[in-house]
C-alpha cells in the first residue's frame, strides 16, 4: 500500500450534526488502497504557511468504485474550522492512506461490538460496514454499535449502518437522545439488559472514554481494539511526534512509546499505558474560531 500525495477535489460538503461536517474527496490513488481504520493527512491552508501542519482524519467511508472517500470531522479548532469553510469544487492536498487498519475478528469469534464516543464515530462507519459484510458470512455472527454523544444535536445519523445490519444503541450525556449516560454506560447496561456477550470491542473516542472502555474490557477479559489519537506533525513516521506511552515489548518497566501514525492508529488496548496519558485540551470554540 504505497502512500501517495494527491490533490483531491472536494466533491461534496455537508453539515451532518452540530459542528460536524462530512466531506467527500475525489482522490482515486489514495482510495484505491484505503482500508478502514487508516487515515489521511489533509493540508488545511491554501494561502500561506499558517496553519502550517496537515491534520489527520480517518476514512469515514471509502467508495472504491468511484475513486473517492469521505471524512467526517468535528470543528474543534482553527484547522477544522477552516476546513469546514472549504467549498465544493476546491482542491485539497491529501496524503494517504496512512497507518495500520482494523482486521477482522479471528475465526472463532461471533459477536463483536463497536464503541464510539463523539466524533469517534468517524472510522466506525466504514469499519461497521465491513463487519456487517463479515457477519453476513455466518448466521451466528452479530455486530453491535454503542454510540455515545454529548447531546442529541451532536449525534451523527447511523441509519446507513443500521440498514446494513449493525444493531445500534445510542446514548447522550444529557439524555436528549437514547439512554442517558456515556458510551461505556450504554455498553455496560445494554450488554447486561440484553445479555449480549461481545467477544471483541472496536473502540474510538476521546481519551477518557477509551481509557474507561479499556478498563471495562480488561475486567471482562475481552480484547479491545482501539483507534487512538495523538498530536501529529507528519503522519508518516518521520518526526516521531505522535508518541503514546506503551507497555514495552519486553514487559519491563522502562520507558517505551508507540507512534500513532506508524504502529497505529489501531492498537490493542492492553499495550497502552492509559494512566500516563496526557488528555487533549478542550477549547471553547467561541474563543478559537472566527
Amino acid at each position: 500500500m504505497p502512500k501517495t500525495q494527491e490533490k483531491a477535489r472536494l466533491l461534496e460538503t455537508r453539515r451532518v450534526a452540530e459542528d460536524t461536517h462530512r466531506i467527500a474527496l475525489y482522490a482515486p490513488r489514495i482510495t484505491a488502497t484505503a482500508r478502514p481504520g487508516q487515515f489521511v493527512m489533509v493540508r488545511i491552508t491554501s494561502e500561506g504557511t499558517d496553519p502550517l501542519l496537515n491534520r489527520p482524519f480517518s476514512f469515514h467511508r471509502i467508495h472504491k468504485d468511484d475513486g473517492l472517500f469521505e471524512i467526517l470531522f468535528r470543528v474543534v479548532g482553527r484547522g477544522t474550522w477552516l476546513l469546514s469553510q472549504r467549498k465544493e469544487g476546491e482542491t485539497l492536498e491529501v496524503i494517504g492512506p496512512l497507518g495500520n487498519f482494523f482486521t477482522l475478528p479471528p475465526a472463532h469469534e461471533e459477536t463483536v461490538a463497536l464503541v464510539a464516543g463523539g466524533i469517534g464515530i468517524a472510522p466506525m462507519e466504514e469499519w461497521g460496514h465491513r463487519l456487517a459484510q463479515w457477519a453476513r458470512g455466518d448466521e451466528a455472527r452479530r455486530v453491535y454499535l454503542f454510540y455515545g454523544a454529548r447531546t442529541a444535536s451532536e449525534v451523527v445519523p447511523t441509519r446507513r449502518l443500521e440498514r446494513k445490519g449493525v444493531t445500534t444503541f445510542i446514548s447522550t450525556d444529557d439524555g436528549t437522545l437514547g439512554r442517558c449516560g456515556t458510551a461505556l454506560d450504554l455498553l455496560d447496561q445494554t450488554c447486561r439488559d440484553l445479555s449480549i456477550r461481545p467477544q471483541r470491542l472496536y473502540s474510538c473516542g476521546p481519551l477518557a472514554m477509551q481509557a474507561a472502555v479499556a478498563t471495562w474490557a480488561r475486567q471482562q477479559n475481552l480484547p479491545a481494539v482501539m483507534s487512538l489519537e495523538s498530536v501529529m506533525a507528519c503522519g508518516i513516521g518521520a518526526c516521531l511526534g505522535c508518541a503514546l506511552p506503551a507497555v514495552p515489548p519486553d514487559d519491563s518497566s522502562r520507558i517505551h512509546y508507540v507512534h500513532v501514525c506508524k504502529e497505529g492508529p489501531v492498537f490493542d488496548s492492553r499495550k497502552i499505558l492509559w494512566e500516563k496519558m496526557e488528555p487533549m485540551p478542550v477549547r471553547p470554540l467561541s474563543f478559537v474560531c472566527s
Partner: protein, 328 residues
C-alpha cells in the same frame, strides 16, 4: 528563446564541493525531519537528493520525551521529541543498509551527552561503508557541566569537535544552535577545532501553552521552533557564520521552496537542508531541487556555484550612525 524569455541551455551544473565533501546537488534533508529516509521512499527517489541526513543517532537507543511532543505555532512548529532514536547498532544493522539499497548519499547526525560519547560514536561509525559525512549535533546538554548545551559555549563546542575529529577521517560537519549571543564566535571555535563544514541552524528555543487547561503544549515545556517562522533568523545566522569562517556552510531553517533555498545560497551557503517542510509535503525536497534547476535556467546560469554568495549589500544611502541594528 525559452518560455521564460531566456535561452534554452544544457542542464545547469548542480554539483557542489564543500571542502572534502562532494555532493551531486546542494539539496539535503535535515536531521529528524526525514526519519531514516525509508519513510519517504513512497514519495520520492532518495538517490536524487544531495544527501539524506538521518535522525540523530546516539550510542544507545533512546525512548525520547513524553507526549505531547509537537505543537503548531504561527508558520512554525515546536518539537521536543527528546532525540528518540534506535541507537547506533540498530542504525548500522537496519537503517543504513536500507538507505544504501536506495542509493542515498547518507550523512549521519550524531549526538551525545559527553565528549566521550561523541568520540565513541564517531569511532563506531568510522568503518561502516556508505557514510558520506558525519554531522555533529552540539545542541545537546553536557551532563558534566550541569546540562548546559555544548553548542552554547565556544570552549565546549570546540572540545566536542576535537573529540570527533580525532576519531574520524570523514568530512566533519558541525551543526550550530542559534540560541547564542554570537554565533560567529562558536563558528570560529569549531572551525579551529577541525570542522570541515558548518551547518546551521538547529531549532530556536521556544514554548507554547494552552490557556484553558493551563498546561504547556509540550510535556517537556520547552521545545525547538522550526519551519518558515524561523527562516529570517536562520538566514541571519548563516550570513554571520559565512562572514566568520572560511569553511563551507550549509544553510538550514524554514526552507519550503526553491526560492527559500536560493536565499541561503545567495548569502553564501554552499548547500541547504530542507527540514520541517518534509513533514508538511513529503515531496518538498525534490520540489526544491526541481525549482532550483528551473531558477538557474531562468537566470541563465550555468552552475549553482555561480550563484552562491553573490549577495550585493552595497547601500545607496549613508547608514544612520549608531543606529540600533535591527531593533526598531
Amino acid at each position: 528563446m525559452g518560455k521564460d524569455g531566456t535561452h534554452a541551455r544544457s542542464a545547469p551544473e548542480l554539483r557542489v564541493q564543500l571542502g572534502p565533501l562532494s555532493l551531486k546537488n546542494p539539496v539535503l534533508t535535515a536531521s529528524g525531519t526525514f526519519g531514516y529516509g525509508q519513510e519517504f521512499s513512497d514519495f520520492l527517489d532518495l538517490a536524487r537528493l544531495g544527501a539524506v541526513v538521518v535522525k540523530g543517532i546516539s550510542l544507545e537507543p533512546r525512548p525520547g520525551n513524553p507526549p505531547p511532543r509537537v505543537t503548531e505555532t504561527p508558520a512554525g512548529m515546536l518539537n521536543a521529541i527528546g532525540l528518540e532514536n534506535v541507537g547506533v547498532e540498530r542504525f548500522l544493522a537496519e537503517k543504513l543498509p536500507s538507505l544504501r539499497r536506495r542509493n542515498a548519499t547518507v550523512i549521519v547526525n550524531i549526538l551525545g551527552n559527553s565528549e566521550q560519547e561523541y568520540a565513541a560514536l564517531a569511532e563506531r561509525l568510522e568503518d561502516a561503508e556508505g557514510i558520506a559525512a558525519l554531522e555533529v549535533n552540539i545542541s545537546c546538554p553536557n551532563v558534566k557541566e550541569g546540562g548546559i548545551a555544548f553548542g552554547t559555549d565556544p570552549k565546549t563546542a570546540a572540545r566536542v569537535t576535537e573529540a570527533v575529529r580525532q576519531k574520524t577521517h570523514r568530512p566533519l560537519i558541525v551543526k550550530l544552535s542559534p540560541n547564542v549571543t554570537d554565533i560567529g564566535l562558536i563558528a570560529r571555535a569549531v572551525e579551529a577545532a577541525g570542522a570541515d563544514i558548518i551547518s546551521c541552524i538547529n531549532t530556536v528555543s521556544g514554548m507554547a501553552v494552552d490557556v484553558f487547561s493551563r498546561r504547556p503544549k509540550l510535556a517537556n515545556v520547552l521545545g525547538g521552533l522550526s519551519g518558515p517562522a524561523i527562516k529570517p533568523v536562520a538566514l541571519r545566522c548563516v550570513y554571520q557564520v559565512v562572514h566568520a569562517v572560511s569553511c563551507p556552510v550549509i544553510g538550514i531553517g524554514g526552507i519550503q521552496t526553491a526560492l527559500d533555498a536560493l536565499e541561503f545560497l545567495l548569502v553564501g551557503a554552499s548547500a541547504v537542508q530542507v527540514g520541517t517542510a518534509n513533514l508538511v509535503r513529503p515531496t518538498a525536497a525534490v520540489e526544491v531541487l526541481d525549482g532550483l534547476e528551473r531558477f538557474l535556467r531562468h537566470q541563465g546560469l550555468a552552475s549553482v556555484q555561480e550563484y552562491i554568495g553573490t549577495l550585493d549589500t552595497t547601500c545607496r544611502l549613508p547608514q544612520a550612525e549608531e543606529a540600533c541594528a535591527g531593533d526598531g
